[in-house]
Symmetry: C2
Subunit: 341 residues, 2 copies
Amino acid sequence: MAQELRSGDHADVRFVLAAGSTDTASIDGISAAGASPDVMAHTPSADAEILEYGRPVRAPVVPVSPSGCPTPAVVTRAVRERLDFPATVVDAGLAADTAAPTVNVGASPGDDVRAADPVPTAPTAFEAARELGRSLPEDLFVAETIPGGTTTALGVFAALGEGDAVSSSLPANPLSRKRDVVAGGLEASDLSRGDAAGDPVEAVRRMGDPVLATVAGLAVGALDDGRDVTLAGGSQMLAAAALVRHAGADGPLGIATTSFVAADESVDVRAQAAALDLDLTVTDPRFDRTDHVAMQRYEAGEAKEGVGMGGALALADRADLSMTAVRAQVVDVYDRLLGEE
Amino acid sequence: MAQELRSGDHADVRFVLAAGSTDTASIDGISAAGASPDVMAHTPSADAEILEYGRPVRAPVVPVSPSGCPTPAVVTRAVRERLDFPATVVDAGLAADTAAPTVNVGASPGDDVRAADPVPTAPTAFEAARELGRSLPEDLFVAETIPGGTTTALGVFAALGEGDAVSSSLPANPLSRKRDVVAGGLEASDLSRGDAAGDPVEAVRRMGDPVLATVAGLAVGALDDGRDVTLAGGSQMLAAAALVRHAGADGPLGIATTSFVAADESVDVRAQAAALDLDLTVTDPRFDRTDHVAMQRYEAGEAKEGVGMGGALALADRADLSMTAVRAQVVDVYDRLLGEE
């Protein structure tokens, strides 16, 4: 387990965050990523700034759910402050300005998945991300931040004819609501379940979001180049993995998620990962050992994942950084962001 | 001297690279930053990628002068590989695509300084950069990459009524050529020497480039916020410092440059720094102690500075990283980039 993140002077692993948006998040009852739609538009931009600078810079908010659960960016940043892994943010369709440096792949914000063509930039973003993934020198951990993303993940599953369940950032998963939305999306796109099998770009364009297009492109490109790729996240990364497999990339692909996703009874992550031939890593930060507000809400089943939290925890484990140290650093970051309130 | 770059888990210093372009670089005989105008357009994009990834990713070239002098990005990256300081690239008017993540400040590529209004985005970029500088949590080392930048630096000096000499990336400084260009620029802008004194945004808009507007904004903002600012570079950073002073910011401002700039007989960096009340740091990487091709050309007076090389060397010195170790790492980076040729 005592694997180092760096060999010699160069990083072996780069953490790449695809940050973007979809109007699907505005549908009532879909997402917990931000207290209101106005605030939610800034969530991915704020997450990127927290990852990069340890606090929002241009973003006017710290993303916190209505019940007080802080964005998982806090956890990912906490691990990064201890391990110093290199991180790169890709603009996968940001709706609000960010001061985080971003790589352009030509992605625009996604429309509501119930539109006929919600992600017209998917082909461009997939291709540019593939080229980027092919060119980056390190193994990749690929993460996402996009409110509403589990609904578009369900949409991609439907288009590809894969699983029919996803996790949620809410403790009570509004899965039937999401299925209704996806049914509306299929109808608007004139698709039946599985119609886009083997055509991942079409699937993500008609039923997904620009983040999934970008994540899938990055993964396919890095696999092409013989790099190891770990998708850092939950249901959205399972959808990204399905896109990768439907693109014909059958190389070794990992998924690293949190114990909170693994404990979600509305999905069987282990079965889904096995079906896609993914090497699954589940890491438990043992938030039950603290009663700090920053971690309590996760124990209550909120948020669960995002901004590569499960991947960051896996990197911590790999580098022999204890979860006790991770939790202490989470408190540090949280207090910096929200301690005044 | 044994100052640490990090206190506790947070970096104290962020390295910010303003990367951009000006058509002034296309004037015959002005710049050594790239073998031909076609290649030169990619130099800042490639420099940003080398800083971020250790090699070009989207950029089709490694910037090397006609005589074989590699871009100073090689030296800055080498130091970064040893010290792991956080770095952020600002798009200060890039003319070519880059895979490096960049912060947007609304800058566009600059026109030839002999145009009437070569940098119409200067006010926007200055303001956005000031806001960014004010918001970033660390002390800043601010660097630049822009071919042709010493000529626009001379233009800014003229508009402000400051010094009338700048250094060069060429061993034989084409200073009279630059003065002719600046005279043409003043005429086109209907300005006389010193007409823009006290109006730095006007000076950089009419006679400068988008990188200088961005660097000056970053510095003014960070000084406003009580942060330490070190301008990492030579003549261009003296021009940026003049803009900062003409903006009324009289806080403690440093400049960190190389021994190659300090040895340039065409300018008196010490006198210029003193006139602007700058704390000057000159660092000598002792490239005379090696005959590696990556460093020989610097000893011959080429390149001299750029991509914050002098600032990176100062950070190395501050962290007690020996110049022997720096030179060894420069060879590593160089061989990775150009070893095959």
